[in-house]
């Protein structure tokens, strides 16, 4: 790292609070020209808040920002763009009801400005007239990136862009980041995947609980040091112990499989799911993985009762389940933790109320909720370690805590089979460990879990068996303990034939 290179952006002592919750206390960040700078921290550390302040989406309560040595007054998003800062936010910033072309027009961009970037990301054939709500999430992320690149920014900020991308799509992004650096410009990169960070970034700033804790030159650092800085010494030990405990639990557990609780027989759904069959046993955690768009979302819709299959049948404890809505599936004890937390939460309502929602349907409880709910909710809150300081509105919780609430809802109401769709996407290592631990515990207590995850290293840690979905079919099945990342990846790309 060339210490003499000039400072592009400097943010000092940035603070921000939302009601009683302090998102940022004193965040400092210095990005130099020509570097790829990582912004790291556990969930709720304030990374996204800082990015939003730097892009002038929300105002800071205190602190100062300067760009190229000049104090910058960033009041509106366009001010940040004017100052040479372009951001790809965690959530896609495209209007769903308009076409791609109309979205570009709104941002004041032309196709000619965006198209070269889309071509570089293998999206040169994209149809600009298609409505944004019909575009898959991964492509939306890349469209957002192309839009940011078209502004030709001096500082490109990428908030969790790789979380929704497939490996090859992520590689396009990495290439572009490197090019930006070679042109003497800068990238601020946020990712929970430390592998990516170490491979790409020159420098890292670490936030913990809204405070700047350290800056690292990444040339001589390993993952462990970063994790320690992100979580603090004690928490790291605890997280490691939990993961080890998970591993041990699995050893003891894997030997015997209980009776089949959920069975899928030749499920078809239009051309998305093409004949999926599997058995889920009592006390088992069955992993499922796939690249983006291989029918996993549709399969989960069928399993959770949201969508009826075109053909094929579902059996719950040997009896046929013909769900017309999730209500029917839930009655049979099959419950879903969706990928999008917004689908599961009542954002304006309290944590407690969110945890109670599934209890509303219990027969005999239509007129009163005064029974054992309070106790059940209390137990779930304790069990999950949910931070309830912002408990009056679930939307004020950090992403990781929101995810815990989505699982906690079912803990409070009880279930037999938990369908988890990518529950740890974009979540920090400590919360991840807690969620794995929770899943193992749930399974040990006799429930079953079907876990779809896009993060392959998770699979041997948590699952007993693993299925790989490709083109709407299960192409691979194996014992999760022997499932290496390479083997799963090649299967996920459709390169391995299903074992006989």
């Amino acid at each position: 790292m060339n210490e003499a290179s000039e400072t592009l952006l400097s943010a000092q002592g940035i603070s921000k609070r939302y009601g009683p919750v302090v998102a940022l206390r004193t965040a400092d960040l210095t990005v130099r020209s020509g570097e790829i700078h990582a912004l790291l921290g556990a969930n709720g550390a304030g990374k996204s808040t800082l990015v939003k302040i730097l892009s002038a989406v929300i105002p800071a309560d205190g602190g100062s920002i300067s760009v190229n040595g000049e104090p910058a007054a960033l009041r509106l998003p366009m001010d940040a763009v004017g100052a040479g800062i372009a951001t790809v936010f965690q959530d896609p910033a495209l209007i769903p009801d308009l076409s791609i072309a109309q979205n570009l027009r709104i941002s004041g961009l032309t196709r000619a400005q965006v198209h070269p970037w889309l071509e570089r990301m293998n999206l040169g054939h994209i149809d600009y007239e298609i409505q944004v709500s019909d575009v898959p999430l991964a492509v939306l992320r890349l469209l957002d990136l192309a839009r940011a690149l078209a502004r030709d920014p001096h500082l490109l900020m990428l908030d969790e862009i790789t979380a929704a991308l497939t490996t090859d799509q992520a590689d396009y992004v990495f290439d572009i980041m490197r090019e930006w650096k070679d042109r003497g410009r800068s990238v601020l990169f946020i990712s929970h995947r430390l592998g990516e960070v170490l491979q790409l970034c020159d420098w890292a700033t670490i936030l913990r609980n809204g405070i700047h804790v350290a800056d690292f030159d990444l040339s001589g650092v390993d993952e462990g040091e970063l994790v320690t800085a992100m979580l603090g010494e004690e928490l790291v030990k605890k997280a490691e112990e939990e993961i080890v405990a998970v591993g041990t639990a699995e050893e003891e557990h894997a030997a015997d499989l209980g009776p089949v609780v959920l069975e899928a027989r030749d499920i078809h759904l239009r051309d998305k799911v093409n004949g999926v069959s599997f058995q889920l046993h009592r006390g088992e955690i069955l992993g499922l993985t796939a690249l983006e768009g291989q029918g996993q979302a549709e399969l989960f819709q069928v399993l959770s009762g949201d969508h009826r299959p075109s053909s094929g049948e579902l059996l719950v404890k040997g009896e046929r389940l013909r769900a017309r809505s999730p209500f029917d599936a839930i009655k049979q004890g099959v419950v879903l933790v969706p990928a999008d937390r917004q689908q599961a939460l009542l954002p304006q309502r309290s944590v407690r109320e969110n945890l109670t929602t599934p209890l509303y349907n219990r027969i005999g409880r239509w007129f009163t909720l005064a029974g054992d709910e309070a106790e059940r909710v209390e137990r779930a809150v304790d069990r999950l370690g949910i931070d309830v300081r912002a408990g009056s509105q679930a939307q004020r919780l950090s992403g990781g805590n929101q995810q815990k609430v989505t699982i906690g809802r079912w803990l409070a109401s009880g279930f037999d089979t938990l369908l988890c769709f990518d529950p740890t996407r974009g979540i920090d290592i400590q919360t991840k460990a807690q969620i794995y631990d929770l899943l193992r515990e749930v399974a040990a207590a006799g429930a079953s879990v079907l876990l779809y995850t896009s993060e392959l290293p998770e699979i041997p840690l948590v699952c007993d068996r693993v299925l790989v979905l490709y083109g709407g079919r299960i192409v691979h099945e194996r014992d999760a303990k022997t499932a290496t990342e390479e083997a799963l990846l090649s299967a996920a790309h459709g390169l391995v034939e299903a074992p006989a």
Partner: protein, 336 residues
């Protein structure tokens, strides 16, 4: 066959299918209007230029009001005050245009449109600043406008120039067989609005603000400004409807109930395929929807339905038609 993410974003849908999906509702509403017209023609003994002119001319204020409401709803608001604005503009025109030359009445008309835009922009500004829901503030503005109209013209009366009446009705007396001035005016207005909303940044911003405020903000759109803009344009359209009303009647009447007009405009907007949650719809489909709603009562009368039952039937029709939309949408989502 598997759908890769790539396949999903390229032109896999046949052109006409996508066209139908995007514009099917607009097409359907126009078709429904034509079917109703054809049916009406068989119902009454003599169907000719006079009947066509009467429907087109008398439906015009209604259509303008619905377009104004549509613009506001698409941008994520709803304006209960448009009916009051119509009445206020109508009586103001009748009071000041009486006995004036054509050119003078035109100047007065432009002044009224501008004033209505400014006043309703103020309503939008109050909604923005006070953070009180649109429906509450505009319920207030409805009463205020209606009251101001009574103050402006306590007794029915006033007048306008012959030329001004011709401009909206194709005849100096407001009654005749010439629908063309109204047709041309509606066409010009609709084309202008459609182009504005589909091609320009400010027009598309309406959809953006109504669809997803956060995404709109992140795209550099000032949602507050968009809201004020939509209320200003909507207010101007309500005033245009009021001017048409004065031209047709040849006088003003402040006891016209603005609230009913507002509810009709909301019904037309819904029938025209505009989502009340904002972000979806077009002015082009609202035009036939406005005509259909206006046209239902003459049809029912021609069918020999008791006027007091006619309202019930009208209400049921709205429910049935909207239920069909709901079912179609549900089926589309099941299939896709």
């Amino acid at each position: 066959m598997t759908a890769t993410p790539q396949a999903l974003v390229t032109a896999t849908q046949a052109g006409w299918r996508r066209w139908l999906r995007r514009h099917g509702w607009t097409f359907g509403v126009w078709l429904l209007l034509l079917v109703l017209l054809a049916y009406y023609a068989t119902l009454i003994p003599r169907f000719g230029a006079f009947q066509v002119a009467s429907i087109v001319n008398n439906g015009t204020p209604f259509v303008f009001l619905a377009i104004g409401q549509a613009i506001i709803v698409i941008a994520g608001g709803i304006d209960l005050g448009v009916g009051g604005m119509l009445v206020l503009a109508s009586v103001t025109a009748a009071r000041f245009m009486e006995g004036q030359a054509f050119v003078t009445t035109l100047v007065i008309a432009v002044a009224i449109l501008a004033a209505a835009a400014v006043i309703n922009a103020g309503v939008g500004w109050i909604i923005n600043t006070s953070k009180v829901p649109d429906i509450v503030i505009t319920l207030g503005s409805l009463y205020v406008f209606q009251g101001l109209a009574l103050y402006m013209l306590p007794n029915p009366g006033g007048g306008t120039s012959k030329g001004f009446r011709w401009l909206f009705t194709g005849s100096d007396t407001g009654i005749g067989t010439n629908p063309w001035p109204a047709v041309v005016m509606i066409t010009l207005v609709v084309v202008a609005v459609a182009l504005w909303m589909a091609k320009t940044r400010s027009g598309l911003s309406l959809y953006a603000a109504g669809s997803n405020k956060t995404a709109a903000y992140l795209s550099g759109i000032k949602a507050t400004r968009v809201k004020i803009l939509s209320y200003a344009v909507g207010g101007a359209f309500a005033a245009l409807a009021g001017l048409a009303n004065t031209a047709i009647a040849g006088r003003g009447n402040a006891t016209t109930v603005g609230g009913n007009l507002t509810l009709n405009s909301v019904a037309a907007v819904v029938l025209g395929g505009v989502a009340l949650t904002g972000g979806i719809g077009s002015a082009i489909a609202v035009v036939p929807a406005g005509f259909i709603l206006f046209f239902l009562s003459p049809i029912l009368t021609a069918m020999g339905v008791d006027p007091s039952n006619a309202q019930v039937i009208q209400g049921f029709l709205i429910v049935v038609v909207m239920s069909v939309t709901g079912v179609l949408e549900w089926r589309r989502r099941r299939r896709s």
